[in-house]
Symmetry: C2
Subunit: 278 residues, 2 copies
């Protein structure tokens, strides 16, 4: 398949996730770099990465990155997976000879730019919170971050309850616990980072629930902005080519095809099954 | 490690799950066959099985079964995983020379014994419902079964919200949809099968929500009853040895150790990490 995607006009951008949640990052990329060609790989056979060791995650992510670069001709890679960004970015960069961008640094940078008080909140999955990657990236920028795992939000999104009263109640409970903890630690947070690729689908519901003084930062948007700055090559004169998308998964494409279009906000089309082994 | 567990008095029973939910089956077994020795394996590195192909699940489950028999000396195996029971019971039985019992047949048999109308409801995970293994096992006994996937219940249990108003509301919504569908198909269900190893933790909440004419059947309990009939060897005169339990996991024992005691209703103790490859 080598080079199949390099015949078009725009750059070839590889986007990698352990599942299909990273399609929200691809959606944001499509808006920022519409003329690019995209190869999206969801390593669905081996998800969730969150419960696995750093070494295992690094191996899986490196293999996935090599598929996107060597087989699909990706010239840039976006790691649209918080766990892989947190634990394996170095390993991925070592495995491929193209620039690699994760979601955590752009999210933290965007929070830093938005915050006046210097205190931020981060909501994410268990695995991302346990890695404390957001807190570290924020701290490196002089921003204090309080992280909270919100494990029910991903299944609620996957159930399609993105505007459901139950989801609003669950988010209210998580937010209340987070704000109480922040207050007890003397923090004045004015920024909330959505540190999971599923959460952008809850953005309207989240925006209604958070106090007006807190600004919501979407890591997917922040990553796409950074990618546009780093990776976007000049568009040719005829430059309005619509972005071409090819999606790949390592197992069970059914859920990917069924739910993917909700995340991408357009049909994902056919998802090709590939085998990366073990 | 071969034979390590065979020095005690009771039979050695291997219990296998893709995760730690099967500890509810182990708990039921401990009550029915208290003098046995138990080796529990959660294949946590490769969960969830639900999104994987039948061939992959069969390979994983067979490897796990061989560990329990060859390394831990199990004389009987209980497959406390609905997905593996649905898709890989034959493959497991071929892989090991000891009797193997899954959770689906006992659950269906118990529903058949309980039902007067001949109509049953089954709630389970997406993967179990998609396999239609409960419907097939019920049909083979002349019982009509309507299955419904309830994907939010597992994460709600894992969040510890087993008595939470949000969980009650989610279950009410699922049950209402299920009863409406049953009515529209002309069914008069009088039995509800809990077809997932996490659901026994919701039993008090479920019992409060279901109409009084519907009897709740717990596959874990039904499986333990069947195991007691099939596997329990006569207890020696001094036969009140407390069951010995050893737990193994293939990755990340942290969540297992943290949540496991809730499922087992006693401490799981130390969980040993083992490597099955892949």
């Amino acid at each position: 398949m080598t080079g199949e995607m390099t015949e078009g006009k725009g750059p070839v951008i590889g986007v990698f996730d352990s599942g299909f949640g990273g399609l929200t990052v691809l959606r944001a990329l499509l808006r920022r770099i519409p003329h690019a060609q995209y190869a999206f790989l969801g390593d669905t056979a081996r998800l969730p990465y969150g419960s696995k060791s750093r070494r295992t995650i690094a191996r899986y992510a490196a293999e996935s990155a090599q598929f996107l670069v060597n087989e699909q001709g990706a010239e840039f890679l976006v790691i649209a997976c918080n766990t892989a960004s947190a634990l394996a970015l170095d390993a991925i960069q070592e495995a491929v000879p193209v620039p690699v961008l994760g979601v955590i640094e752009p999210g933290a940078a965007s929070a830093r730019a938005a915050s006046r008080t210097g205190d931020a909140l981060v909501i994410a999955t268990d695995a991302t919170v346990q890695s404390h990657a957001y807190a570290a990236a924020c701290r490196a920028r002089g921003l204090r971050a309080l992280e909270k795992a919100c494990p029910l939000l991903v299944p609620l999104v996957e159930e399609g309850w993105t505007q459901h009263p139950v989801t609003a109640e669950v988010f209210r409970i998580y937010l209340q616990e987070l704000l109480q903890q922040a207050a007890s630690e003397g923090m004045c947070p004015d920024t909330l980072v959505l540190g999971c690729t599923h959460y952008p689908l809850l953005r309207p519901l989240i925006a209604q629930a958070v106090p007006p003084e807190i600004r919501v930062i979407d890591s997917a948007e922040a990553t796409a902005e950074t990618a546009a700055r780093l990776f976007a090559t000049p568009v040719s004169k005829s430059g309005s080519h619509a972005g071409q998308i090819r999606c790949f998964a390592t197992d069970s494409v059914e859920k990917f095809e069924r739910l993917g279009s909700r995340f991408l906000e357009q049909p994902v089309g056919r998802v090709d099954l590939i085998d990366l082994g073990g």
